[in-house]
Symmetry: C3
Subunit: 351 residues, 3 copies
Amino acid sequence: MTTIPRDQWYVAAYGREIGHDLFSRTICGESILFWRTEAGQLTAMSDRCVHRRFPLSQAPSRLVGDSVVCGYHGFTYGADGACVAVPGQTRVPRTARLRSYPVVEQDSFVWVWIGDPARADATRIPRAPWLVSPDYTTVSGMEPLAARFGLLVDNLLDLSHETYLHGGYIGTPEVASTPITTEVDEAAGIVYVSRHMDDAECPPFYATSTGLTGRIARWQDIEYTPPCLYKLHSRIAPVGSLPNPDGTDPDAFHVEVVYAITPETEHSTHDFWAVARDFALDDTSVSDFIAEQNRTVVLQDVAALDVLEQVIATEPAGYQELSINIDTGGLAARRMLAAMLRQEPATAAAR
Amino acid sequence: MTTIPRDQWYVAAYGREIGHDLFSRTICGESILFWRTEAGQLTAMSDRCVHRRFPLSQAPSRLVGDSVVCGYHGFTYGADGACVAVPGQTRVPRTARLRSYPVVEQDSFVWVWIGDPARADATRIPRAPWLVSPDYTTVSGMEPLAARFGLLVDNLLDLSHETYLHGGYIGTPEVASTPITTEVDEAAGIVYVSRHMDDAECPPFYATSTGLTGRIARWQDIEYTPPCLYKLHSRIAPVGSLPNPDGTDPDAFHVEVVYAITPETEHSTHDFWAVARDFALDDTSVSDFIAEQNRTVVLQDVAALDVLEQVIATEPAGYQELSINIDTGGLAARRMLAAMLRQEPATAAAR
Amino acid sequence: MTTIPRDQWYVAAYGREIGHDLFSRTICGESILFWRTEAGQLTAMSDRCVHRRFPLSQAPSRLVGDSVVCGYHGFTYGADGACVAVPGQTRVPRTARLRSYPVVEQDSFVWVWIGDPARADATRIPRAPWLVSPDYTTVSGMEPLAARFGLLVDNLLDLSHETYLHGGYIGTPEVASTPITTEVDEAAGIVYVSRHMDDAECPPFYATSTGLTGRIARWQDIEYTPPCLYKLHSRIAPVGSLPNPDGTDPDAFHVEVVYAITPETEHSTHDFWAVARDFALDDTSVSDFIAEQNRTVVLQDVAALDVLEQVIATEPAGYQELSINIDTGGLAARRMLAAMLRQEPATAAAR
């Protein structure tokens, strides 16, 4: 039984990953071929030939101009997925067409719609404008996770784990000890989790990147739009400093941490991460430091969640977790994901 | 549900692979032990001891004279599979007997019958006489394939893939562009697929081995006897040259390409290949060239089919291929294989 | 369907393996955390946090004094498995408690009870007193086996395999050729298998360790208490030498070979082995020789049984073995194990 909502937009790649070359990535169990035409148009289609299912991303398959030529028997497809040539005959069967997927490039991400294309509404794609804003500098990456996407949702919705799993990087005692507040906006489909630490130790991640010394005010405001986009609005400031009534906040450092959580299969996930900051915009040493630190933190999560996936694989049916206050956001996210699954037409859920 | 007809002869090995030594190979999911007696008689029997199923091909099991001694508890078997000694008692149970398999050595191959021995009719084994004819020189080998045997049948019945998968070796544009003719002899159980190219580019495989320059007439006449034996009668000649009315064909070069397609398991296959030629019989450089080229071509197929097996493993139930004219031979072969399965007694199909 | 009796004591480790450190081992499919308090008390509890199932043996989980701190979110547990601290709140849920397991340290082993703790009766743990007796010198180890525990039970109950699998170490022709006697004490739950060889070749294992030259009397008296503890009382003496009527046996060398057969999962086993001798007590060269030889012998068994597990994985349902006189002890052991499974309450067998 699947746990993956399919009638949804997912981040498939960074726009920079896809050029005039064949690029394949599995999203929600479907192997999808991405490429750009010579004019730069982004395309997404099934990565298996309609004839004998050879992957079109697999050599000797190749891109010739704006056509994809299958490396097994030469079936040839245009940018819309329609077959334009087959071997041994001039007539091309009308049904010879690759499934094509709606794609949208936005906020540095390539979003793809996996369900029924008729229901693909690009206006519903959540935004992460900092990633392409000139007022921010962003570092980003993607790590493969050998665990179901729900484990990463759990992980990111409950940051108390920073204290234990990421001590020495982004965790300090105050993260685990400070209670959270959780809100769910059912209409907008967003879970909010906030933790405001008024007087906290400054972890190395922020001390080195901001240059702040001494204790800090540290705010963590999470905004998760299931299933894919997670945003952590992180505010770091000297103790006692507050934003101005007009919203300006000159003494604070703002970091927007964005995750895109994309199921690869039922048991593996693409873990996209990006960190945008509004300070030291041109300082490449700060960029390098944040990139290296955040990747290390992501890999600590990956190692832990890969272990959890293995634990689940061997546990008895009906195993029960115990949840406490810190899990309120994660449990709300689970409920929203379960509701998405229930509301899907059977054709979207069926494979 | 199996896709492997069992009441059939399959090539298990080349005769040269089996001597007065224990040799094991899995055929249709059954682990079979082959060896020759001191007098040279070929034998085939189950490769697991009747007592506690230890493999008789596994050290410290060993051949002592014409007896096989199990390396676990010393159960000892003669060339007919009958047990002749057990530990701790002098009486040997009458039922202590390894299953033995009918075997026939013919045309350089060792053929084994997997189904009910009562139905093993050696006269039904298809022939490939060139492989042992003094008028031909043969090179041969076997490559393991991590894919179901049906994928190799598909591959070999549709040679249009030479143009794409084997370009630069045996493929030229004319193979994919020239239509085929297909005939099925239901009584004899043979599928014929022919492609006659009257004016074609000469691929490196033939240019180098024959010394022909310029364009050629190239005939491909396939003769497949399901499930195991595939023969490609390949005729290469200067453009315009035809065989004489009496069948002689002095201006042409003839190559008999033989494949034996033997299921190892439901998802893996022994891919035996042999190339016999009627020219340059004593030229070892030609033999070496053809052997190296053909092995390369086989490994290109292996790489592609191994990928297809993985694709099938992850695809949804009910996935539909699209077939066109070039697939006529392959589809006929599938129908004959399906009919073989339907006609098998339940005892042959059951495992 | 499980083959593992759960309402039983199993050897989990040697006492020496467990200190004031987190030590994890999977027993009967359950991942169990073992450690000693600062006062030396042995504890055993479930190796997964009640919150989000993170393994407590996995870094950055750690032992702090006599508390285990989970490396994911900091749930903290005492030596009795009760949770004493959770993140983000001061109240600890009353149900936050790790399952704890009865443990007993005896005869150098750590025994653990897997089933319902209410039925754990430490007086039923079988004894192997030589392993801690000052009158004996013991070498011991553990080898992981990628095979179901029943295959090791079969192996150890039928020592005729020594002749074939362990020739050159402990096997000689007489082991396989000498008949056995078997007795079953249903009340005590013990299988006895005896083989007394009055005039046998002395294998290298005993020739080198005892210094005996020439032929020997060799007695093998097996005492197996299913499911876990196997003892082989081995007596080596000059031919014709018998124990005195009062039980003293000054001319003989006595070796107590002890195995603890502990299922790790349905298809893997912890193969604990120990060899205690009543001679050359202080001769470390004898200890080193016996340890190296016995480990080699165990690894020969491991290699053979790992192969058998693979053979079973591919064999058809309903495959039938053939058993003879030498298997009487093994078959009796199987019957006792099957009876244990039948007598278990459903709650013990269910997982």
